[in-house]
């Protein structure tokens, strides 16, 4: 049970949008995390590794300066492994995740991204409904 945080979430969202705009206007690249991560072992990996260092480093600096942000993981180890495998494989097969399709794709009004975002949102909500209200609880 988490509390509704409209202002922090809107402001955090604006920062994410600014990051996507910055990467597009400087490097001409989509800020899609799954794609950047998968490409970070290929050729042209310098900027991808730098992006990932910032992505991991900023929250680390935040935690050091202001204390660790709230984080609660209900999933056990087996669920985390299954979820990670599905997310890794699925984002490669579907060419993107919440950032590439959900933020950048929707901002570009890409039909593929609009379809993908609708599908993964509905599938994820259905998964939560099944695990929390049908199977568990």
């Amino acid at each position: 049970m988490t509390s509704f945080t409209p202002f922090a979430s809107l402001a955090g969202g604006a920062l994410i949008g600014a990051a996507a705009a910055l990467l597009w206007l400087t490097l001409g690249r989509i800020a899609g995390i799954s794609g950047i991560l998968a490409g970070s072992i290929g050729s042209d990996r310098g900027w991808r590794i730098a992006f990932l260092v910032g992505l991991i480093g900023a929250p680390l600096a935040w935690a050091a300066l202001a204390g660790a942000p709230a984080l609660h993981v209900a999933a056990g180890p087996l669920t985390l492994v299954a979820a990670g495998l599905l997310v890794g494989f699925g984002t490669r097969l579907g060419s993107g995740c919440t950032s590439g399709h959900g933020v950048c794709g929707l901002a570009r009004l890409s039909p593929r991204s609009i379809a993908a975002t609708g599908i993964f949102m509905v599938t994820a909500a259905a998964t939560v409904f099944l695990t929390r209200h049908v199977l568990g609880g």
């Binding site: 949008g17 490097l27 690249r29 919440t98 994820a124």
Partner: protein, 139 residues
């Protein structure tokens, strides 16, 4: 060097945004996805903050014609909604709903979130590796 600094700054902005928005916390993501439970609509506000700002960036890009530190924009192909896209989105949605982690928040949580994001990210990399093992025509 400018390219590296720009990417580093974009990544840091992205990571700070994930923490500020609360999306690095899987409990908050699952509370958004749990529409039949104690629903937390915050994630919709994250999208509502991110999409218009990103759209301004893409509109500026169309006006400029080229990015500042690269030859051209790496515009994703405007292809069809095919079985691959649908299947990938379904698998991703399943995994996202199981644990509440998607790639960005899981990476952002590595520095402060204990062992769970590490296990998730290791499995996610394995999933990406499995995809790479598929024969070319199946991808």
């Amino acid at each position: 060097m400018t390219r590296i600094l720009a990417a580093l700054a974009a990544g840091a902005l992205f990571g700070a945004g994930l923490v500020l928005s609360g999306m690095a916390n899987p409990a908050k993501v699952l509370a958004f996805l749990d529409v039949a439970g104690d629903w937390d609509p915050s994630l919709a506000f994250v999208m509502g903050g991110a999409i218009p700002v990103a759209a301004i960036g893409f509109a500026l890009g169309r006006r400029r014609g080229a990015p500042l530190c690269a030859e051209g924009f790496a515009t994703p192909p405007r292809g069809l909604v095919d079985a691959r896209l649908i299947g990938g989105a379904v698998l991703f949605g399943l995994g996202w709903g199981l644990a509440g982690f998607c790639p960005g928040p899981a990476l952002a949580a590595l520095g402060f979130g204990g062992w769970q994001p590490w296990l998730f990210v290791a499995a996610m990399l394995a999933g990406m590796g499995l995809f790479r093992l598929l024969p070319e025509q199946a991808r």
